[in-house]
Symmetry: C2
Amino acid sequence: MLFSQWGELAFHRWLEERFGTVPRGRGIGEDAALLPLADGFLALTSDAVVEGVHFRREWFAWAEIGRRAAYACLSDLAAVCAQPRGMLLSLGVPPDLPAEAVQEMVAGLAKAGEEFGAPLLGGDTTAAAALFADLMAVGHSQRPWWRTTAQAGDVLVVTGALGGPAAALELLQAGRQTACPAWPTLRARLATPTPRVREALALAALPVHAAIDISDGLLLDAGRLAQASGLRAVLRAEHLPTAPGVREAAALLGRSPLEFTAAGGEEYELLLALPAAAVAQATQILAALSCALTTVGHLEAGRGVVLLDAAGQEVVLPRAGWEHYAPVC
Amino acid sequence: MLFSQWGELAFHRWLEERFGTVPRGRGIGEDAALLPLADGFLALTSDAVVEGVHFRREWFAWAEIGRRAAYACLSDLAAVCAQPRGMLLSLGVPPDLPAEAVQEMVAGLAKAGEEFGAPLLGGDTTAAAALFADLMAVGHSQRPWWRTTAQAGDVLVVTGALGGPAAALELLQAGRQTACPAWPTLRARLATPTPRVREALALAALPVHAAIDISDGLLLDAGRLAQASGLRAVLRAEHLPTAPGVREAAALLGRSPLEFTAAGGEEYELLLALPAAAVAQATQILAALSCALTTVGHLEAGRGVVLLDAAGQEVVLPRAGWEHYAPVC
């Protein structure tokens, strides 16, 4: 059987079965692996981007490509409430790539890491037919958030507003960006998706029971959190915060905005499960960081994830979320 | 200017100038980046292998490809005297690769990590035109070894015996392996190059002033250690320990054995700088682990690296060592 027929999800299940139980830590299946230290936990994550799979070079400036790679890793650290400490970069470089492109990309990612306390510490370089940048970030967490520890009755809240990166990407894929007046706003969401590191650390003292970043889409990642905790996630379509420009792009593309807000990937917002009593304080803390926090649903006994409309009917979308293995180009 | 014209070494110099000074830690330029913790140092390293650049699939079993990737990372941890704690794998998989190949490779690398205390903790998967496996390993060191702290007068000692992997690789490249009776011995050196993790940890209490792994060849890496410490390395050709089969392969290929022992890459032995008074104890400790330790030269005031023959004349080899960026296939 070919790898592409087997599929990424089957591969992940195989990995979890074979290697999922790490003594005293948790690894495969979390946003970041967590290793116990004398003092708290070490959080480790890696994220690889490949030209022609994750981006086309004409879509972004090289510094943006580097920054996006760094932010993807830092978002994983935010999802486990870890303070970033450093990054390693393994770079596969095609011989005909201009040196300036490499310099700008590396400078962009190093600067992005430094913003959040994670300098570029080292790595590796190799020749490659197609450019790839694999970034690993390491952080430290006194009391990490897990996916597995949500409780029935927890409220699900999400940071920021949703759908912008996915709408921007679909405009690019369709070559319709010039037709959309909201394009500059949407492009900014795709090109510079700020990871919620400061927001996560600001919430460290609150009783957050579980967390995940929704880089594969709210619906898919809410389902992962629910499954890891042995619960059912109920999301309310009318409560999802919609990023500026998403409705316009959806209209232009003949799609429902929900396809972007509920199922759009490349999103670096956090989904948190916490007791209803803690929501007001969390909202207040994040407001001081200019970050919205919106209640989008709750967790209950059961399995799976469901998206309900205002009438309580299930909304079924063409696809639930994004597989990393699937090319976006 | 194209990246290939600029070159890997220029890129590394640029990285060191731009990002080399990490507050309270050392990163770029060491085998592993070192980050201070409350208790000792965190050691981080990454190593990427790309099919068609670092190996051909017909050269190795898939489990060997995985194991070699793990051992390369673990060797970097050995070079800073760190106890391995875990690994992350970012995998780029061509769609037409058999799922079984991925399973065998991942199982091989996970098993290799576990042997040395570093379970596979997580990672990332992506589509890619050519298979790549980027492995990152993390370890902990109470008192790490650096490249920068060798002292004039230090003796240079090397673990094991040299030249086997490079001789095996050149036989493969030339398609001459069946012509060499020593091929099985040499192949084993290339396919399963044991990292010197246990050996490094066993020497932790000794006054090792500086260390490096010689994965790019003894001469090149001795030069790096000398340069980092602001010294000159003097190596003695007649003292280099030659691995079994290397002389036979060299004769067959019409090459000097020194080209393999002094300048052959893919070698996972350690080069250590320590006071002459500590050599006997180090030798005794490693003998208990069935590992030879050989004095191959010394460090003195000055710059650069020189290889001398028995008459004290400089030996000049066709190439000093291996650039990672250069394909071996």
